[in-house]
């Protein structure tokens, strides 16, 4: 009677289970465990309380309440955590997911709709998960005459490049950045330069007309807007005298650079819109002209990867705008750490029977401070990391500012139509480059007039 599994037989069912169990066990034994061993051999293990953290010790400490916080702390301060989770990919992907949700809902409100509504019960908050699952489960169709290695490589390269861009972004004081380079801004320019190459490669490899036109358009657009992008940031470099992004942020502890360089900020914002292919400049994906531009032949998760990469890129550009013009994580600290004297000297409590000196061992948040005496060591210049409170406060300010910039990047989508290629190139080559030179002259003027810069009055 059952129509769900008409040819069901218990023997075959059990055979399937045993088969799977056999193969899983075999593969884990022959491949999985040796891989873990090799990996553990290669990864430098941290030293906690004078003991090298081996795998056995880690499992032991996992159930030891007194050792759990040092264990987690060791994880938090490892390179892997930085690359995968907090300042790196995971954090950026989380903001990117939030961006997609905000974009949909905001655009919907702007257009008198409701947007995603049912998935996840609360305002369609799980819509992105559903879309992701759909993209993963879809077949990846590759054109018959495509250059298959390049066609496969392009989305991966795109995400990789976007993640490399994300890795250069410092998000909190005390070197919370994956790659803290002295030439950080130069590295940013170098990474941005990869995007047109990846785009044109993928467009060419699809061996189709609409992707090709879209790729050519993307190439035109990105190459011609990279010049004003780089030039518009040079003003800040002239004023701060450094290319390190963390130092650029620290130079804005009293005022953000946008006060002195609004022209540069505007030029940079417009070029960011163009580099991101957002709506007034979404010519490479112009739907009504060239189907979906260079994304036409992508399907399934290949398309999903490109979208992920483009939203990572969106986050990275917004963060770059915050770092360069809006002062990064600088802002009022919500909950300042305790005074240094509390640890070193303590406060005498009068009329107290016991020990009259009150001291504390930790000035900030125990989990986020790397060392219990971190604040003291930082005051004495011995530590590069910062205390937990400053970290939390900095991240909150940074995220707030970044979300604000992302909001302004999303907003034109509801307001403007698409512009044309010749108008775009005209804007890029004539207007923006000229304006960014004006910005550079303003910066030079400020330096030579002695207002800001080394030895300036401000």
């Amino acid at each position: 009677m059952s129509v769900i599994a008409p040819k069901f037989r218990l023997g075959y069912f059990l055979k399937g289970i045993f088969d799977n169990a056999f193969w899983i066990l075999t593969l884990v034994t022959l491949a999985g465990i040796p891989t873990i061993q090799i990996a553990l051999f290669l990864i430098p293990l941290p030293v906690i309380n004078g003991q090298l953290l081996t795998a056995y010790l880690a499992f032991t400490w996992l159930f030891n309440p007194t050792m759990q916080i040092p264990l987690i702390k060791a994880l938090l301060y490892s390179d892997l955590f930085r690359i995968a989770a907090f300042p790196g990919f995971g954090f950026a992907a989380l903001i990117a997911a939030g961006t997609i949700f905000v974009e949909r809902k905001m655009l919907a409100k702007l257009q008198l709709r409701v947007g995603p509504f049912y998935c996840g019960k609360i305002e369609g908050i799980l819509q992105l998960v559903a879309d992701g699952l759909k993209l993963i489960s879809k077949e990846i169709i590759i054109p018959a005459k495509a250059d298959k290695p390049l066609f496969w490589a392009a989305p991966v390269l795109f995400v990789g490049t976007a993640a490399a861009f994300v890795a250069l972004i410092p998000v909190a004081p005390g070197g919370w950045v994956v790659a803290d380079l002295d030439v950080g801004l130069l590295a940013v320019f170098a990474v941005i330069g990869f995007f047109p190459i990846i785009t044109i490669l993928s467009a060419w490899s699809a061996n189709s007309k609409f992707p090709f036109i879209g790729g050519i358009r993307a190439l035109h657009q990105m190459v011609s807007f990279e010049i004003p992008l780089i030039l518009s940031l040079l003003g800040v470099v002239i004023l701060t005298g450094t290319l390190n992004l963390s130092e650029i942020v620290e130079s804005q502890s009293s005022f953000p650079w946008i006060i002195f360089m609004p022209i540069g900020a505007i030029v940079f914002f417009i070029t960011v819109l163009a580099e991101l292919e957002r709506i007034p400049f979404d010519l490479p994906e112009a739907e009504s002209e060239i189907v979906a531009g260079w994304l036409t032949e992508f399907s399934g998760m290949i398309y999903g990867l490109v979208q992920l990469g483009s939203y990572l890129k969106l986050y990275a550009f917004a963060a770059l705008f915050v770092i360069i013009f809006l002062g990064g994580w600088t802002g009022p600290v919500f909950w300042p750490p305790l005074d240094v004297e509390l640890i070193t000297e303590g406060i005498p409590i009068p009329n107290y029977v016991g020990d009259p000196i009150l001291t504390v061992t930790t000035p900030g948040l125990p989990l986020l401070d790397k060392d219990p005496n971190e604040w003291v060591m930082q005051q004495q210049g011995e530590l590069v990391y910062t205390s937990g409170q400053l970290l939390v406060s900095g991240v909150i300010w940074f995220v707030l500012k970044t979300v604000g910039v992302i909001f302004f990047i999303l907003l034109p989508r509801g307001v403007f139509p698409r512009i044309r290629l010749d108008m775009l190139l005209h804007i890029g080559w004539y207007k923006l480059i000229g304006l960014s030179f004006v910005n550079i002259f303003i910066a030079l003027g400020l330096v030579y007039a002695g207002v800001i810069g080394p030895g300036g009055i401000l």
Binding site: F416, R418, R420
Partner: protein
């Protein structure tokens, strides 16, 4: 043999078509393309410039004219509105006028006013849909959502009148199918007033948008002489400076008793062509208000018709101004219940001829703006 009647459009300098075949790329825009509608435009491009465009309609050809020859005058009504279901009253209007002429039946005064109201509401419904697609063709997604949302107002109104949301089949020879509901005047007036307030807001976000203006002004310019020579009609014609609106020039039903104004712009570019329908909607609101005021409050809505009316041995050709332009219906009749030959002379088919002419020498990015500004409805052109 055939001398070139239309002067060749001025091409941008440096653009040569001959002997550079390897530079020419042929694009099939459509039938499965988000920027084509139900048709194909075979576009040849040289770089970013279009050197040749060949429209290829017919993907939704349904043989309405052939079908009409085997159905009688009444059963023809529902399927003849299928070419433009969004403008179903107006596309049916010339056919109904023609049948009334052939059968020899007078329409009651109240029915004429109801017809005018329904036709103007339908014009607005069509133009809203057209405008939505024009918005999304230019990448302006808000302009896609707003008209489709505001259009619901009028669709609800039409549903109250006719019982159907889009395919009304409301006009019949001798009047309209059923009477308007009670307190229709108040509801209609309120909704039309609100609708007018809403569509005036479109100017802020769309028609006064500097990017839109920079993009569509001076693109696809159709001069007055060429508009006449190409036989274009409706908004395309009036955007090129020809004052020709059949509601004024050849008033049918009660349009001669109403104060109808027409909108004429001189530029003849895509921007003007896209603005005329919007101005028409504002004018339609005026016409509806006037018609509601002058409409007889009671009276017959329909003249009784013989069950299977036969035409006389004659031919008629009636025209009305639809949402896109002149819609004509040529009926050749014998003394039979079916038309001998029925020809729908629709404006989309007439405006299509301007497309290859306008696209030549334009940039590829202008293609959607020029194409959809022709107020073109592919299904209507295919019939």
């Amino acid at each position: 043999m055939a001398e070139q009647v239309i002067p060749t459009k001025k091409m941008p300098p440096g653009l040569q078509v001959e002997n550079v075949d390897d530079r020419i790329m042929t694009l099939n825009v459509g039938p499965q393309h988000p920027g084509s509608g139900h048709m194909r435009i075979i576009v040849k491009i040289d770089g970013d410039y279009i050197v040749d465009a060949d429209p290829d309609p017919g993907y939704v050809h349904r043989g309405e004219e052939k079908m009409a020859e085997s159905r009688n005058y009444i059963t023809n009504i529902p399927h003849l509105e299928r070419p433009v279901i969004h403008d179903s009253c107006n596309i049916l209007y010339p056919y109904i006028l023609g049948v009334e002429d052939l059968v020899g039946i007078e329409v009651p005064e109240r029915a004429k006013y109801v017809r005018v109201i329904a036709a103007e509401l339908n014009r607005c419904i069509y133009i809203q849909y057209w405008l939505a697609i024009y918005g999304i063709f230019l990448g302006h997604s808000t302009m896609f959502m707003w008209p489709t949302g505001d259009r619901e107002l009028l669709i609800d109104l039409m549903e109250k009148i006719t019982g159907a949301r889009v395919t009304h089949a409301y006009f019949i020879p001798g009047g309209v199918r059923n009477d308007v509901p009670a307190n229709f005047e108040d509801v209609c007036l309120r909704q039309v007033n609100y609708f007018e307030k809403r569509i005036k807001e479109y100017a802020d976000i769309f028609y006064d948008n500097p990017i839109l203006k920079a993009r569509t002004e001076d693109t696809g310019v159709l001069s007055r002489e060429d508009a006449i020579r190409l036989g274009t009609t409706g908004s395309v014609l009036r955007a090129s400076g020809v004052d020709y609106d059949l509601r004024i020039k050849e008033p049918y039903d009660v349009y001669d008793e109403l104060d109808v104004h027409t909108n004429v712009l001189k530029e003849g570019d895509s921007y003007a062509r896209s603005k005329i329908p919007w101005l028409d909607m504002l004018e339609s609101c005026n016409i509806i208000r006037q018609a509601l005021e002058k409409m007889p409050k009671s009276g017959s809505i329909r003249k009784k018709l013989k069950p299977n009316p036969k035409g006389r041995n004659d031919e008629v050709y009636h025209r009305v101004e639809s949402g896109r332009g002149s819609a004509g219906c040529h009926i050749i009749s014998r003394e039979k219940p079916e038309p001998y030959r029925l020809k729908l002379s629709v404006s989309s088919f007439r405006n299509l001829i301007a497309l290859p002419y306008l696209l030549k020498g334009e940039k590829l990015g202008n293609m959607p703006a020029v194409y959809w500004s022709l107020n073109y409805w592919p299904v209507e052109a295919d019939r």
